[in-house]
């Protein structure tokens, strides 16, 4: 009997095509990766909201949300924050274009785009949690998909103007007339002419309708906590409020137990969870 099992622990080799520095502090970089092998590329099918393990031999692996859209044909994009205590993120940030690393995945569940068809979509992002939301927005805005969804509202906030991700794309979104984009910062600078205010505050001001609407909200735990209240006040149902959880991971395939939250594995049953599901899970998450 031949060993036809695909080894889920073996990363597929990729090349770092381009590195974009996203923020002023230079600790957020977007890596554009392309597969070395054609068969790896053609077998890597992912959906918005999924993640992959970026593998840096010698340093280890890190689970990062996929920031590119599934319809971006030739590459994968990941936006990675460097933590001083993080061995892998520090190694990644030390790399140059042309380096080789590995990718394992795609893992996890995805945003419920099928259920969002025919509905209004509200997307709320905070800080550098915007990555998989950006994947979703790009996917929805693609010509072949835009018609499937009704109104698209985006509220995205960062600590300061320099910390905003995907600055070029934000401009494009603001210019489009088939979506409403509200960019805000906690604190402006001398050049910032846009909105200033915390995301929950701006959300209250924008007050998107909860009628026939799904909300995708991603951000640091504190932002999630303060955004839930206005969302519920605006009438959004807990099962229509969707978020993405993060946990430290090792295997990414639901075996090592590290990312367990109660009986759910964030890597397998998540990372996308509805607020309804999160309230059912015993561990206090928000």
């Amino acid at each position: 009997m031949s060993n036809v099992v695909v080894n889920p622990y073996l990363p597929k080799p990729v090349i770092v095509e381009k590195i974009y520095i996203e923020n002023e502090a230079k600790d957020l970089k977007t890596f554009r990766l392309s597969f070395c092998n054609e068969e790896d590329k053609s077998s890597f099918h992912y959906l918005c909201g999924q993640f992959a393990m970026l593998s840096v031999p010698g340093a280890g692996e890190s689970p990062i949300g996929i920031a590119s859209s599934p319809l971006d044909p030739d590459y994968l994009e990941f936006t990675v924050k460097r933590y001083p205590t993080g061995v892998v993120t520090t190694a990644l940030h030390g790399m140059e274009e042309g380096s080789r690393i590995g990718v394992r995945g795609p893992f996890g569940n995805c945003f419920p785009l099928d259920e969002m068809e025919g509905r209004n979509v509200v997307i709320i992002g905070g800080g550098f949690a915007m990555t998989t939301l950006r994947s979703t927005i790009r996917y929805m805005l693609n010509d072949q998909n835009r018609g499937r969804f009704k109104n698209i509202t985006v509220v995205y906030g960062a600590r300061s103007p320099g910390e905003l991700l995907y600055k070029n794309e934000l401009k494009e979104w603001e210019d489009r007339d088939d979506m409403d984009t509200y960019i805000t910062v906690d604190k402006g600078d001398e050049n910032w002419k846009g909105r200033v205010g915390f995301v929950p505050t701006v959300l209250r001001q924008v007050a998107p309708s909860s009628e026939n609407a799904t909300v995708l909200v991603c951000g640091p735990p504190i932002m999630l906590k303060f955004t839930m209240l206005p969302l519920l006040e605006l009438g959004f149902k807990p099962e229509s409020i969707i978020t993405s959880l993060e946990r430290r991971m090792s295997c990414g395939i639901g075996k090592c137990g590290r990312c367990a939250v109660g009986s759910e594995y964030v890597c397998k049953n998540g990372p996308v969870f509805s607020y309804q599901r999160i309230s059912e899970l015993s561990e206090k998450l928000l």
């Binding site: 080894n7 622990y9 639901g254």
Partner: protein, 336 residues
Amino acid sequence: MAAHVVRKADLKKFINAVKKKNTFLGPVSRKGDVTLAVVGLDDELVLSYSNFKLPPKTLLFPKNELISTYDDNGMVEVLPSEGEVVIFGIRPCDVLSLLHLDKVFLDEEFVDPYYQERRRNAVVVALACTEPMKTCYCTSVGGSPAGEEGADVLAFDLQDALLFEGCSEKGRAFMKTYADYLQKPTKADLASRNKISSEAPKKITPINVTGLTDKLEEHFESSLWEESAQPCLGCGVCTFTCPTCHCFGLHDEQYGQRGIRMRVHESCMFPSYSLEASGHNPRNANWERMRHRIMHKFHSTVRNFGDIFCVGCGRCIANCPVNLDIRETVAEVLHE
């Protein structure tokens, strides 16, 4: 294939025949303890033990396993290559633990090729218990001292002989291979065997687990967790000696221009286990980690795999330096 016996006088000949064809692991004396190890030329099989100190999970899921190697050309997997292994002497509770681990590692969505290879190559010859320990409670969690679930062959120590029963295709094939060394059992042999399987369960003090899974969910926020975990040192001995604990991590080690990636057993009882690079730790307090461990054993695995993963071997109770007793915690939860 029906039951067969090997008289003790002929046992060495039989074992030698098996050793010629396979790696043979059995209970031998090492450093004053009975351990499951490769039976060497000078080793005598020891059959007077209750259970091994360490669980057999490390045979299929080693504590330190080479996953892949890498160099400038990329990463290459390194699959196990040990070949067939006959494992003799595992108690039925530990055999049941292997079935539980199968559910995790052989899950169809992502089959673990390392575990799968070792599992395929293992012939599990279980040894039924005659003297359960004070800390045993296998009968309360789906097991039995003479249980055959998961075993390829089930053996009984009849004092003057070993009786073997083939329980699976692999087991029956194994017995067929060594048919020359096996004899038909006498009536007395069979009576002896039946006496063991009927008497042994009576020596076990059972615990109650009815409704435990639901109760655990109900009482997640109870103060009993913090209270009962006060003496816990956070040492992790429970997880390392537990047959079904399987938390692990992947680690790279660099040697100049090349390196290895390995899988290492870890423990959810250690704070660093869930510690994130941002400094946030979802299970910051010791009692939160202990609650997680017990929930995982009796609740999460039931929700995800339909089974309580605890097999009632009692190792966590016997080895805990501060004598924390999972049976008492379970009783407290049920009492809440």
